[in-house]
């Protein structure tokens, strides 16, 4: 007859297999920290390029001068600059995510690529792609002030959607991004700050918390 401990061991193993096979567990907290730093840096670069454009003054401030408005060539240059910076930030941040997550997978001896990873990515990409295209539509219609909130909302939805296949904590990060995006869609004109908070600070905070929870120095030995 199987002993008591054997049964407990079986149950524990079953749970571990269920988790491993349905969740992508090697997502590294460090990737969030570095992606956040890159995002903050990008926001700083854009701010230094054209700080007048941002902040409530442009939309609500009492001291609103006609000269403050960017027009024609300057406006176009500004958009090109912002989009380019955004694209570079995205690529560098993704690079960090892939690097740290790979490293984490190697350390924990988890598979780097399997159906779970693929499922998570597909679920992440669907809302992201929809959001990206919606932003293009906003730009097309000249509704620039809604772009920042919309990116955050769709990014949050993507995280919530993908969280079913990875560490559950991602779900709450997604909800925070959605809340931030919704708030920013009411109080428009703070696009850059909102981006810096949503993609920068939240990622750093969350990344640190997840790193300490799952990969901290005391957990390295396992």
């Amino acid at each position: 007859m199987a002993s008591q401990n054997e049964h407990i061991e079986h149950l524990r193993e079953i749970r571990s297999i269920m988790e491993r096979s349905s969740q992508f567990l090697s997502l590294s907290g460090l990737s969030g920290v570095f992606a956040g730093i890159v995002a903050l840096f990008g926001a700083l670069v854009v701010y230094l390029y054209q700080y007048d454009f941002y902040f409530g003054r442009y939309y609500h401030g009492g001291v609103f001068l006609q000269e403050d408005l960017l027009t024609g060539e300057a406006l176009r240059n500004f958009y090109v600059f912002t989009l380019l910076t955004g694209a570079i930030v995205l690529v560098v941040a993704l690079g960090f995510v892939v690097y740290f997550t790979n490293r984490n997978a190697r350390r924990k001896r988890l598979p780097r690529w399997n159906t779970t990873v693929r499922r998570m990515l597909i679920n992440l990409i669907i809302p992201l792609a929809a959001g990206g295209m919606f932003c293009l539509a906003l730009l097309y219609h000249g509704l620039f002030y809604l772009v920042a909130p919309v990116t955050l909302i769709f990014y949050g939805l993507a995280l919530v959607n993908a969280s079913k296949y990875t560490l559950r904590d991602i779900r709450y990060l997604g909800l925070l991004e959605i809340a931030l995006g919704l708030a920013a869609s009411i109080w428009v004109g703070y696009g850059l700050i909102v981006w810096a908070i949503g993609f920068g600070l939240l990622h750093i905070g969350y990344g640190l918390a997840m790193y300490l929870k799952y990969e901290g120095p005391d957990k390295q030995a396992q």
């Binding site: 297999i17 399997n114 159906t115």
Partner: protein, 99 residues
């Protein structure tokens, strides 16, 4: 006590079978190589246990071609899910009642 043990499903006696069912409980179709990777066992070992589970209709099989490569996937049937859940319940009960 004896009653409790009788409720444990004989088809789930091996660790591999428990493992296969665990993976299939939380996923839809899963192919052979993914199962092998998740459980870290050899082809032959996995194949024989899969055949046993298939024999009692706890899992169903789908064979298809991905390009030119044959690909076999498995999924837990309703029968298999119910049986596995009952087995887990029996295990838990056994643990809780034995001092």
């Amino acid at each position: 006590m004896k009653d409790l043990i009788n409720k444990l499903n004989k088809h789930f006696e091996s660790r591999v079978r428990l493992g296969v069912m665990s993976v299939l409980m939380v996923n839809d179709w899963v192919d052979f190589s993914t199962l092998k990777e998740a459980l870290d066992i050899t082809d032959g070992n996995l194949a024989s246990h899969i055949k046993a589970l298939e024999g009692v209709r706890y899992i169903e099989v789908k064979k298809q071609f991905l390009g030119r490569k044959p690909n076999t996937s498995y999924r837990a049937t309703l029968e298999g899910r119910t049986a596995f859940e009952d087995h887990l319940k029996a295990l838990e009960k056994l643990i809780n009642t034995t001092p």
